[in-house]
């Protein structure tokens, strides 16, 4: 462990102390004049400018909204036939795009993530292990926990592979369909040029793109990274920025969806917003801005942001389904004509 730079010099320290003294004097003056409860906070953390979205950037509008079947609602999955699967409470529930409920699977613990294979097999991630169900909701298998610190937050299925994002271990796990662990991907490796995942809170997503590469969020580095299924690092896009073109706060994006043409849909917390990026990662437009998620934005402010958050999936018609974890609602967004 080493320090990259010194802390305050004596002069800086004295400057800061003088600043603190000046502030205390200002506080004393304010006390003398102020009423017991002031309307304005002189120490306000002001991001109001960033909470307004330029309407010219918004390309989508809401065409439907329905309540998540169970709460607290956590994540969405999309089956190949277009059926949505919603993780909420101790259940995974199948829901049609119009919001009609179907199959419901009861679980022993809250589901964190879900993915559905071509043959209808349903993979459900609980916090520390995977359970597998057939298309009728009968449990077929329960896999061993990958690690003591595991916190599984995303699943993606491709042919014979199941990819699991483990936020607790900060690793992407590759399994075969029988539950045999094949590889640990994305761990820091200087020789292979792999930067390693920075996952400060339980938001870590993976998708398999039509080009065969994995798209993995790396929230602490404010970007989306591309990996081969063998774990070779192929590149990354995204940058930290509070402005609309970048990823805000300490750690975003928190989740990711893929449009049929390969473009990306990203979700952020803190400043809850959903945006579209091109297949190569250039910012294109806003699906829904902070104004659309007032309760979600406030939830993050009151205690901490690990309970807020958004999730999204995109279907074959390009509709984007957004789950607001705070209001437990799903919004169906369509591109404006």
């Amino acid at each position: 462990m080493k320090r990259e730079f010194r802390l305050s010099t004596r002069r800086e320290f004295l400057g800061q102390s003088a600043g603190a003294l000046a502030l205390l004097s200002a506080i004393a003056a304010q006390r003398a004049s102020a009423a017991p409860t002031r309307a304005r906070n002189p120490f306000a953390y002001d991001v109001s400018r960033l909470e307004k979205t330029d309407p010219r950037l918004v390309t989508h509008h809401e065409v439907a909204r329905w309540p998540a079947p169970q709460s607290p609602a956590r994540r969405l999955g999309l089956a190949p036939d277009g059926t949505l699967f919603v993780c909420g409470g101790h259940y995974v529930t199948a829901v049609s795009p119009a919001g009609e409920r179907g199959l419901e699977i009861a679980l022993s613990a809250p589901p964190e993530c879900v993915a559905v294979a071509e043959d209808g097999a349903i993979f459900v991630g609980l916090r520390d292990h995977i359970e597998v169900f057939d298309a009728n909701g009968r449990r077929r298998a329960s896999w061993d926990a990958p690690g003591r610190k595991s916190w599984l937050t995303a699943l993606a299925v491709r042919a014979d592979d199941v990819f699991v994002a483990d936020a607790g271990q900060r690793v992407l796990l590759r399994y075969d369909r029988s539950g045999k662990l094949l590889a640990r991907l994305g761990e820091k490796n200087r020789e292979r040029g792999i930067p390693g995942f920075i996952v400060p809170s339980p938001f870590f997503d993976v998708k398999v793109a039509p080009d065969g590469l994995l798209r993995v969020t790396n929230p602490g580095r404010h970007r989306v990274e591309l990996y081969t299924p063998e774990g070779d690092f192929e590149g990354a896009w995204g940058r930290a920025s509070m402005d609309i073109t970048g990823f805000s706060g300490c750690c975003n994006p928190i989740s990711l969806a893929l449009l049929p043409d390969g473009r990306h849909v990203t979700c952020e917390k803190g400043l809850p917003r959903v945006k579209v990026y091109s297949a190569t990662g250039e910012f294109e437009s806003v699906v829904a801005g902070v104004e659309s998620f007032a309760a979600n934005a406030k939830a993050c402010g009151a205690s901490d942001c690990s309970r807020g958050g958004l999730d999204a999936v995109a279907d074959a018609q390009g509709r984007i389904f957004i789950l607001d974890r705070v209001t437990a609602e799903v919004r169906v967004m369509q591109r404006r004509a």
Binding site: M1, K149, C251
Partner: protein, 190 residues
């Protein structure tokens, strides 16, 4: 990698035991001495419930003491050790450096220390902290909520009616046993 909850009142002994690991408090020795001196082992003291705090700024301005008895504390177990710490940096910093213009804290009370790429540790200098909660709002809004306010009982004079509690819009102040004077955030993951 945590979700956090405020805990039940924490005993002085537990607080001191976990202090070095859990909290960025710099004056634990002084704290122990001061508490012993005031012999508050019986009775009740004021404390802030971090889950109810709205980060309104009153804690900096309403305490009867010249410098507020309320300080920011840091639950390291909840911290992401982020490079871009939203409790440390202005919402739109020019650069991720320790230059004063990039810092959120009005008194420069937060120290940023490089650990290893890309992790940084943040500690609070209590002599400089005025309890304004600006960093708490930044950390709660965008981070893991590992920064929060607590009344420090080596400073608080335990007013019958806490002057801050009277104006607290979050109704976050409550009486806790003097033997367990802190309401710490803990981790579900632990």
């Amino acid at each position: 990698m945590n979700a956090s909850t405020p805990s039940e009142p924490t005993s002085r002994r537990a607080f001191l035991r976990h202090g070095a690991r859990l909290l960025g408090m710099t004056a634990l020795g002084a704290l122990g001495g001061a508490l012993a001196g005031r012999s508050r082992s019986e009775g009740w003291v004021w404390q802030i419930d971090p889950a109810k705090c709205l980060h309104c700024g009153n804690c900096a301005t309403e305490c009867v003491l010249e410098q507020s008895a309320v300080k920011c504390v840091h639950a390291f177990a909840l911290c992401g050790y982020c490079n871009l710490c939203t409790g440390y940096f202005e919402p739109e910093p020019n650069a991720l450096t320790t230059a004063a213009e990039n810092q959120l804290c009005p008194t420069g009370a937060i120290q940023r220390t490089f650990i290893e790429d890309p992790y940084y540790e943040y500690t609070i200098d209590e002599e400089l902290c005025i309890g304004c909660a600006k960093c708490v709002e930044g950390c709660s809004r965008f981070g893991n909520g590992s920064l929060f306010l607590q009344i420090r009982h080596d400073r608080c004079v335990n007013c019958n009616e806490c002057a801050i509690a009277r104006t607290c819009p979050g109704d976050a102040f409550r009486r806790v046993p003097a033997s367990r004077p802190y309401l710490l955030k803990t981790s579900h993951a632990q």
